[in-house]
């Protein structure tokens, strides 16, 4: 029954609509993978390597098999040859195979070696403890820079070095440019390994219907269609007999955007046993075996003139990738992206860069919000602050002199990215105005006179979003993530279902996609339902990552809604003896322009199409369905930008950092739902604060992970995240549907740089030291203070 619309047709694009998905989540009615029970379901517990690198000489499962409730124990030899491979097209890329269960060699602390299947999860865990594993430890490769040295052991003995690939680029004018430039500053920038840590751990249910020969995998994933293909390929099943369902998911952030061995293992176990097999990751496993991210070391130099304008950038980028190339990104993703975005939102003309994704015996490495951009932003922003110090300029002024300006767009950066539009200078100006930057600096002096260590930090970035075909071709990935797909179907009642290839795990896409489609049809979003996550529904797509869903799936939904509008208009026109161009959709009615009584109710018209095919014009199908796969032009993405500012106070005794104020000006183009945009910004900034001050995976020298609980890996809670001021500009993309851009990742990109800059500024009254490493744990800050004191006394 189509809702009764109020007199005015609601305009949904741009409004702070309450989210459609919230009621079920609020009443505890979300359906997450662990909430799902299947008849005859068994439970899995994995035995995981305690060593970072070892030959597995023996696995004795006999005692485990005899434990109460145990049905079977699988080891690597049972799943031999079932592995994830993801091969880059880059020259010289070295190939690795990521097995469902390690067979013969373990390559990271936490790698799954055996899988116990029992009637309940407690019994499975009891039995997993009774599996005896004999390890012959091998020298573990832990530090990425040491891994590149000649004498390092090789993670994969058949490789020529530990680099998955070696990338380099130098612009034609670089060597000449640096000869002529009078000044240079260099730095070493280290971002510790950390990751997205969603609140819901991973889970999977492999459910093989033996008689029907159909595998269904329920799994916590952001990329259901890619998982389906990857899984079918890896385990050798026909893809039309595989279905992947990702229901409600408790946060992804990229961590749930790879094909994992446990997904293969649960599928294989279910096929073998003919019963559903469920695995729910515990938090300790999550910290050990869900993919890590962000571990970058950059050595970089900027070359600049007397005015502080940077003309050349040189960098060496090393990323600690763990032993395997993950699907679907390959292990080249972070390095390649860092190389591309390192010049930042600046007009740096010449660029020379080396990039090394390095194999090590740490946990494999995947995507996490912003991917390499937080590390790249950290480096370039810290360097901009050093340029400011060198030239005696305010950090805001230096940036002003270097930003890409309106006149430059579209601007091809030194990294080869085409910035389609943006508002770097305008965003910074607005931020400085709204935060009364001049007033802040005055207050800072007063506070310093009282002996307080107060610092102000600034960070800017432009973020590539909704990049599709053209961009991914350049990245040498085996699957080019070129588009997303939305299938729209109206039913006889006139209610609409949008089936989309993206996934929704907090982004509000059930609401924003409905908003995108509803307006073209004059519909109320209450009559629109969005489906996702089940590969049986939409045609195909990649999933949710890279801040693309609103643009690509929303763009597809908008285009498809226009096609449906067209279909309906032709039926109406045919029966009203009017031209389709004269048909209007408003207030739940479809009518001839100027004569609202000459028309149909929206539902009435839909019912006519389906139940009265004789009234449908010849040549037109009596169904209301449209599928669009949308690849936003120009394919290299549309660029969002933002500037962030923080005011911090450093405790000289403890090294503790308190964030007194945090503000951002965000320009993501026209906002579909400003409430959702702000939620994404705040969430990203909070994770960025975690990156800047708290989060770190700590390993010992033998590659054992020491941070395996939430007592050791620290997440920011409500007291640690300050209130955040947000202001918006809306510079549309010249290329996309409605000019919209993506923005989900951005908040997380700058906080490392901003807070490091603020801490450096805070301790500058003691002495000059360059803060180049995060997280800024209190101990690290104390060390910087000591260094600042030493510098001052020299």
């Amino acid at each position: 029954m189509v809702s009764e619309s109020p007199t005015q047709s609601p305009r949904f694009f741009g409004s702070r609509v309450k989210r459609v998905e919230d009621p079920r989540l609020l009443v505890g009615g979300g359906r997450f993978v662990d909430d799902i029970e299947k008849v005859g379901m068994l439970h899995a517990s994995f035995v995981r390597s305690v060593e970072a690198r070892a030959r597995i000489t023996r696995i004795d499962t006999s005692e485990a098999e005899r434990m109460p409730g145990v049905v079977k124990v699988f080891t690597g030899s049972d799943f031999s040859g079932k592995e994830v491979r993801c091969v880059s097209a880059y020259d010289g890329f070295q190939v690795s195979a990521y097995p469902a269960l390690a067979d013969g060699e373990a390559r990271f602390n936490g790698e799954a070696l055996a899988m116990v299947i029992a009637e309940d999860p407690y019994q499975a865990e009891d039995a997993a403890e009774r599996v005896i594993v004999d390890y012959e430890p091998l020298p573990a490769v832990v530090d990425a820079e040491k891994a590149l040295l000649e004498d390092s052991p090789l993670v994969h003995e058949e490789w020529r070095s530990n680099a998955f690939v070696e990338r380099k680029y130098k612009s034609a004018g670089f060597d000449d440019a640096i000869e002529k430039l009078p000044h240079a500053v260099s730095g070493r920038f280290v971002m510790a390994r950390h990751s997205g840590i969603p609140l819901e751990t991973r889970a999977a249910i492999g459910d093989y219907d033996t008689a029907g020969r159909m595998l269904t995998l329920w799994t916590t994933t952001q990329i259901p269609y890619l998982i389906r293909t990857g899984l079918a390929d890896a385990i050798g099943l026909p893809e039309n007999r595989v279905r992947v369902i990702s229901p409600d998911v408790g946060g992804g952030f990229g961590v749930k955007g790879q094909l994992y061995p446990e997904e293969l293992a649960c599928s294989l176990a279910s096929i073998d046993l003919g019963r559903p097999v469920k695995w729910v990751e515990d938090r300790r496993e999550h910290l050990l075996a869900s993919h890590h991210a962000r571990e970058h070391t950059h050595e970089a130099t900027v070359y600049f003139d007397d005015d502080g304008v940077v003309h050349a950038l040189e960098a060496r980028i090393v990323v600690n990738m763990g032993p395997y190339s993950v699907f679907p990104w390959t292990s080249t993703m972070d390095t390649g992206m860092a190389m591309g975005i390192l010049p930042g939102p600046y007009k740096i003309k010449d660029y020379s860069v080396l990039g090394f994704p390095v194999a090590t015996n740490k946990t494999p490495y995947g995507a996490y919000r912003g991917v390499s951009r937080p590390a790249a932003c950290f480096t370039i922003e810290r360097l901009m602050d050093q340029v400011a110090r060198h030239r005696g300029l305010d950090p805001a002024e230096v940036r002003r002199r270097n930003y890409v300006t309106q006149a430059d767009y579209p601007y091809t950066s030194a990294g080869g990215l085409v910035y389609d539009s943006g508002s770097m200078i305008e965003s910074q100006e607005l931020l400085l105005t709204e935060t009364d930057y001049e007033g802040l600096r005055i207050w800072q002096e007063e506070a310093r006179a009282e002996g307080r260590l107060i610092g102000i930090g600034l960070g800017a970035y432009t973020e590539q979003t909704a990049h599709a075909t053209k961009e991914f071709v350049q990245r040498g990935v085996p699957i080019v993530f070129g588009y997303e797909t939305s299938t729209l179907r109206l039913d006889p009642q006139g209610t609409l279902v949008i089936s989309s290839s993206i996934h929704n795990h907090g982004q509000g896409l059930e609401t924003t996609l409905a908003q995108m489609a509803a307006d073209a049809l004059g519909m109320d979003i209450a009559d629109v339902r969005v489906d996702y996550g089940d590969t049986a529904q939409a045609a195909y797509g990649s999933g949710t990552f890279a801040s693309r869903s609103a643009v690509l799936a929303g763009g597809a939904a908008r285009r498809a809604s226009e096609q449906l509008r067209d279909q309906l208009a032709r039926v109406a026109a045919h029966n009203l003896e009017a031209s389709p161009d004269d048909i209007e959709f408003a207030d739940g009615r479809v009518f001839v322009k100027g004569s609202p009584e000459k028309g149909y109710g929206f539902g009435e018209l839909c019912r006519i199409v389906y139940h009265r095919p004789e009234l449908v014009p010849e040549g037109q199908q009596p169904i209301l369905e449209a599928t669009v796969a949308y690849d936003a032009p120009p394919g290299t993405g549309t660029f969002t930008n933002a500037t962030q500012l923080a005011v911090v106070e450093v405790d000289p005794g403890t090294g503790g950092v308190e964030i007194l104020r945090y503000a951002i000006v965000e320009d993501c183009g026209p906002m579909i739902n400003p409430l959702i945009v702000e939620g994404q910004i705040f969430g990203g900034i909070a994770q960025g604060i975690g990156s800047a001050l708290y989060e770190e995976f700590v390993y010992d020298d033998e590659g054992h992970l020491l941070t395996t609980t939430f007592m050791d890996y620290l997440l920011p809670g409500a007291p640690e995240v300050p209130p955040i001021e947000v202001f918006h500009l809306e510079t549309p993309s010249p290329f996309t549907v409605s000019g919209i851009k993506g923005m989900g990742e951005g908040g997380a990109i700058a906080p490392g740089a901003v807070i490091a800059g603020a801490v450096e500024d805070a301790i500058s009254t003691i002495g000059m030291v360059m803060v180049g490493e995060i997280p800024l744990t209190p101990e690290r800050v104390r060390r910087y203070i000591d260094l600042a004191q030493e510098a001052a006394s020299r």
Binding site: K18, R19, E21, D22, P23, R24, L25, L26, V27, G28, G29, G30, R31, F32, D34, D35, E37, Y122, G196, I197, P198, L199, E200, T201, D248, V249, G250, G251, G252, F253, V280, D282, R283, H505, G506, Q507, G508, L675, I676, E678, G679, I681, F682, G683, G684, I685, A686, Q687, T709, F710, M711, L715, G717, A718, P719, V721, P723, I724, G747
Partner: protein, 155 residues
């Protein structure tokens, strides 16, 4: 024991965690498991009216006591508690996984402190980790809930 106002009797293994009992024995899947060591707050329920971590209690310890889970707040999606309404209107949730625990902690806070200041809210919710929202909208939601509940008391 009483669960959400209903007398309930079951036999359990001593080591069965309260959260597993609620989720899998009673099919009250609204309460979530995030860490199983008492840090993240996803498992927060009310035990004799006070918030506790159900992941570090054994189900057997609930014998003779009252447990309330998120399912007790509303009869269904059309009949939301004022706290739930406030979270909805203020975008106080994104993926929804921390939300049940957050709601129970909020309920306790507002019963003790009907008009909490921003800092008091952040401290009261310190034990409920959210990875999605950055807490800003959660704080707005709690303030709105306080106002909503005050209005209800007046009427």
């Amino acid at each position: 024991m009483k669960v959400n106002g209903k007398e309930t009797t079951r036999e359990v293994d001593p080591r069965r965690l309260l959260v597993d009992f609620l989720r899998h024995d009673l099919q009250l899947t609204g309460t979530h498991v995030g860490c199983e060591h008492g840090v993240c707050g996803a498992c927060t329920v009310l035990f004799d009216g006070e918030t506790v971590r159900s992941c570090i209690m054994f189900a057997v310890q609930a014998d003779g006591h009252e447990v309330e889970t998120v399912e007790s707040l509303a009869d269904g999606p059309d009949d939301l508690h004022p706290i739930q309404v406030a979270f909805w209107e203020n975008h106080g949730l994104q993926c929804g996984f921390c939300t049940p625990g957050m709601l129970m902690a909020t309920k306790e806070l507002l019963e003790e402190n009907p008009d909490p200041a921003e800092e008091e809210i952040r401290i009261a919710l310190a034990g409920n980790i959210c990875r999605c929202t950055g807490y800003v909208h959660i704080v707005s939601a709690v303030r709105a809930a306080a106002a909503g509940m005050a209005a209800e008391r007046m009427s």
